[in-house]
Symmetry: C2
């Protein structure tokens, strides 16, 4: 993204006072804190009477991508489906929160291309050893033991965003500090009144 694209813009509300839709795309390693932040965001945005939908990578796999595995091709298909649905919602005035590892840069950029400047990429970043030490779901242990193949960060790559709209170091910031930063960005960009 160029600096011009990244520049803060006053965003007019659409006709009839409907809020403008947006997509907060939370990308990062397993255990980086995406789900925690996503839940805080959804609660806060609902509290402000916005239309909000959470598209969580795991939940979406059940409803949209049953049968897909974790090969690069299947991961890309899963992410493009999330992007397709996020875009349908976003262009109808919904604030969409996507929480998905989404490890590959190229397919994240394809989602960005669908939604233009209403796509807000948030790199939820903590060092691998921090994520691994948290290991909320016990998945890193399984990956290290070779029971899970193609696990992002262990034996499958994570490609960080080059120019995310926001990078949050969750090893340094608390969840509520992260929340405040995202809300600040939404306010700057005119998505929140």
């Amino acid at each position: 993204m160029t600096e011009t694209q990244a520049a803060t813009k006053e965003r007019p509300m659409s006709t009839g006072g409907d809020p403008q839709g947006f997509c907060l795309w939370l990308t990062g390693l397993s255990g980086a804190g995406k789900s925690t932040l996503a839940e805080l965001l959804v609660g806060e945005l609902q509290h402000r009477d916005l239309k909000v939908e959470l598209l969580d990578g795991d939940i979406v796999r059940t409803n949209l991508s049953k049968g897909l595995g974790f090969s690069k091709e299947d991961r890309d298909t899963n992410i493009l489906r999330i992007g397709f649905v996020a875009h349908l919602l976003q262009r109808n005035g919904v604030g969409v929160v996507v929480s998905a590892i989404s490890p590959y840069k190229d397919v994240r950029n394809q989602c960005r291309a669908m939604m233009g400047e209403d796509f807000i990429e948030i790199y939820v970043n903590a060092p691998l050893d921090v994520c691994e030490s948290r290991d909320v779901k016990g998945l890193y242990a399984k990956a290290r033991a070779g029971e899970l193949k193609g696990f992002t960060g262990i034996d499958d790559p994570y490609e960080p965003p080059d120019n995310p709209e926001l990078e949050l170091r969750t090893d340094a910031l608390s969840p509520t500090e992260c929340l405040a930063k995202v809300l600040g960005l939404l306010e700057e960009r005119g998505y929140l009144r």
Copy 2:
């Protein structure tokens, strides 16, 4: 559906004057006229400044269900995905038009269960010989020649709805007559001002 459920209701607009979302689910044989009616509906609803999205069975197969075939299980998965996405949109105030053969009653009823009384099932009905004589896409000829297996109406069943909110005989009514009937129903139910 019971008579009580089917009864016309005055539907209050949601907070802030937002229109209430709904899902017009067009089911019927290939060639019955679903796409024609869907396009007329989308144009007319957009003209009335409603938020509208068309979920066309064929388009959705590209974006949500690549890799799925036409077995009963795959068809059901495809329809449930359409229902999942339609519901996300409908509950955010969008008027969703689904155009999909959706031949199996049970899975259509699962979609109805997601959306409750905002699910409006429209049986787009023409006799098989009429659909076959239209054969817009040349699919019936292929199915009769055995080049297409599991084609609805030929070697795969179509289960008509028991109690659709509307049945349109497209061999007797013109597309604009069908359109008028759907708009009339939406008005009766308070979805159109």
